[in-house]
């Protein structure tokens, strides 16, 4: 038979890298992401997968795809910039928090303690990438018309879905409800730590139709992401800010 694919799917390779990283000393693992803009088709599947994975309400988005238009007619083209949290080595958002609710974890991911955050949004102002959003308490089902008999139980089911607590940070959060966390909190991309904990790649990585998003351990010399870091196309956003992002782009 031989191989069905001419080359190995990067997802298989990254899954293997992930397994290896999980077996390594956790203190020595540094998660990074590499996004190939030449492969991004701008489908926004990652944005949607992330919203579904983390049960994000309206107005909160962890990974938008920014659509840039370059050039002037007739020589124009579009370029897409998926923008997760950069998980900076030197994050401006962490130092400004007045209650120590946001910290960097062992693997370099910036996390938020929803139970401590007071919702002052200072971190939103401090982030040079606009990577943080505040949960202002909106609901997708708030203005959904209920049509009993036509959509039996559908609105109800959707409401239940919205109230389900997300599995974020692998913790048992209370159901999202009025006046309770994470409403009123700052929220951000966390590289799907809860998925990594059970050996799954982040939702945006597995969902990417163009295989444009790569994920792995920077400290593993054999990892796929390490190979990509050697590319001459590699760059990071706003390096002049000194934030040292852990998200790289192949421009």
């Amino acid at each position: 038979m031989g191989r069905t694919l001419p080359i190995e799917d990067p997802l298989i390779r990254m899954q293997r890298d992930l397994k290896k990283a999980k077996a390594a000393d956790p203190a020595k693992v540094r998660w990074i992401m590499v996004i190939d803009q030449a492969k991004c088709a701008g489908c926004q599947a990652c944005t949607v997968a992330c919203v579904a994975e983390n049960k994000l309400p309206p107005g909160v988005v962890y990974r938008p795809v920014i659509d840039e238009e370059l050039g002037t007619y007739p020589s124009v083209r579009r370029r897409f910039l998926p923008r997760p949290c950069m998980q900076c080595d030197n994050p401006p958002c962490v130092g400004v928090c007045p209650v120590h609710a946001t910290t960097k974890n062992e693997q370099g991911v910036t996390v938020i303690d929803y139970n401590r955050c007071i919702g002052c949004r200072y971190c939103l102002s401090a982030c040079p990438y606009g990577a943080r959003t505040s949960d202002f308490g909106e609901w997708y089902t708030a203005k959904t018309a209920d049509a009993p008999g036509v959509l039996v139980g559908k609105t109800g089911a959707a409401q239940g879905y919205e109230e389900n607590p997300a599995a974020e940070y692998g913790k048992e959060w209370a159901a999202r409800s009025r006046r309770d966390s994470p409403i009123g909190n700052a929220r951000k991309c966390h590289f799907c730590l809860h998925r990594l904990a059970v050996g799954m790649l982040p939702a945006c990585v597995t969902t990417c139709i163009g295989r444009a998003t790569f994920f792995g351990d920077r400290n593993d010399p054999d990892a796929l992401v390490r190979e990509l870091l050697g590319s001459p196309r590699i760059h990071r956003l706003k390096e002049e800010m000194g934030t040292k992002p852990a998200v790289y782009y192949l421009g």
């Binding site: 007045p98 007071i118 939103l124």
Partner: protein, 386 residues
């Protein structure tokens, strides 16, 4: 002394009832904010601080500005401010109360507010802002109250009060400097990332704050027999004029640096505010009005003949207050967030509910100020010293 606040004319009680009504109405709207979250405001993903924090910033300046009366009186023994100095201290108290109110209504999880003290973080400027604001409130309550008490009893205040007053004078500068540091230390907000921001804050505070103080005192003079003396008015108006000149000068420095260097990041916010960006021109009429009123106020304040005209002065001051309020109470915040980090523009405008809650906070400050001024004028009436 508080009993003085409990004796008043029907007009006085009517005013208090009116303020109470606004507070109750705004409080009701705030309850819906507690219930539904900050979605009731116009804030969004790009403009994540809005009208509340802008008012907070403006009022920290008003609070700090009491020092423009207190400093000449205590450091330079400028006796003509004798009657005005307590008003400066009491206005500072009212302003700090509003500042704290605007912070409370702005945060998403107010029931956890005490976390700021339970988990102190000295590397956060917000933590230090909390420290200096509460400290300033405390200092002014002590100073104002003890000075008034000594006036009533005609016994000199204890010697140590002098040192508390000196501390409060230095402290006044710190509250607005720390508030500017909230903004100017953020790496990617070009409109704020400027070493002159704290100086600009102080300059705008030292013209707008005393202007508000003078307007309030003029009103008090109309309603009671209180009279600080014409010289006090004239001197403070001079201070206001100098501070406004410096304020306008500092802003023009910003415009020059941005425009001549032509660095896009530095220009974009100013361009958005004054000419609009990507077809979004919501702020343009406001900013040009502010610029026009700033110049007009200077034209009315710089010539001594116009400045010393007590009929014209309240109008000049009101124009100045409007100009500085647009600059700091609207433009500073909106300009800082627009355009966003990736050059997109999301326009922000406060909602009716947001304005209603803000009005309630302003009414609370007015209530505190009314009660304190009532006590002060009551004591002065008693001692025949109005």
């Amino acid at each position: 002394m508080l009993e003085k606040a409990l004796q008043g004319s029907p007009k006085y009680w009517g005013w208090l009832a009116f303020l109470g009504l606004i507070i109750a109405a705004g409080g009701g709207v705030y309850m819906t904010q507690l219930q539904d979250g900050l979605q009731i405001t116009g804030m969004n993903r790009d403009v994540s601080w809005g009208f509340y924090i802008a008012q907070f910033t403006y009022l920290v300046g008003v609070a700090a500005s009491g020092v423009m009366v207190v400093l000449p009186y205590y450091f330079h023994h400028y006796k003509k401010y004798k009657k005005m100095v307590i008003m400066g201290e009491f206005m500072a108290i009212g302003a700090v109360v509003m500042c704290l109110g605007f912070i409370v209504v702005d945060i998403g999880q107010p029931q956890r507010m005490l976390n700021v003290m339970l988990h102190p973080t000295p590397n956060s400027i917000l933590f230090w802002d909390m420290v200096v604001l509460n400290g300033y409130l405390f200092l002014n309550v002590i100073v104002g109250w003890m000075s008034l008490q000594s006036e009533r009893t005609r016994i000199d205040p204890p010697k140590w009060l002098k040192y508390v007053i000196y501390t409060s004078i230095v402290w006044a500068f710190s509250i607005h400097t720390v508030t500017a540091f909230l903004y100017q230390g953020l790496p990617a907000r070009h409109y704020w990332l400027t070493a002159i921001l704290a100086a600009r804050f102080l300059a705008s505070a030292f013209c707008s704050g005393p202007a508000i103080l003078l307007l309030v005192i003029m009103l008090v003079q109309k309603l009671t027999k209180f009279n600080p003396g014409e010289d006090a008015y004239k001197t403070l108006a001079k201070t206001i004029t100098y501070a406004m000149c410096v304020n306008v000068f500092f802003f023009l420095l910003e415009v020059f640096t941005a425009a001549y260097s032509s660095i896009p990041g530095h220009m974009h916010s100013i361009a958005y505010l004054f000419v609009g960006s990507h077809g979004h021109t919501g702020m343009v009429p406001w900013m040009w009005s502010a610029a026009f009123m700033a110049i007009l106020s200077l034209c009315l304040l710089i010539p001594p003949a116009l400045r010393d005209n007590m009929k014209l002065l309240p109008w000049s001051l009101a124009i100045l207050v409007a100009a500085t309020w647009i600059d700091k109470g609207l433009g500073l915040l909106i300009g800082g967030f627009t355009p966003n980090m990736f050059e997109g523009v999301t326009e922000y405008w406060p909602t009716g509910k947001e304005l209603m809650v803000s009005l309630a906070v302003y009414a609370t400050g007015a209530l505190v100020l009314t009660l304190l001024f009532k006590v002060a004028t009551g004591i002065r009436e008693e001692t025949d010293n109005l």
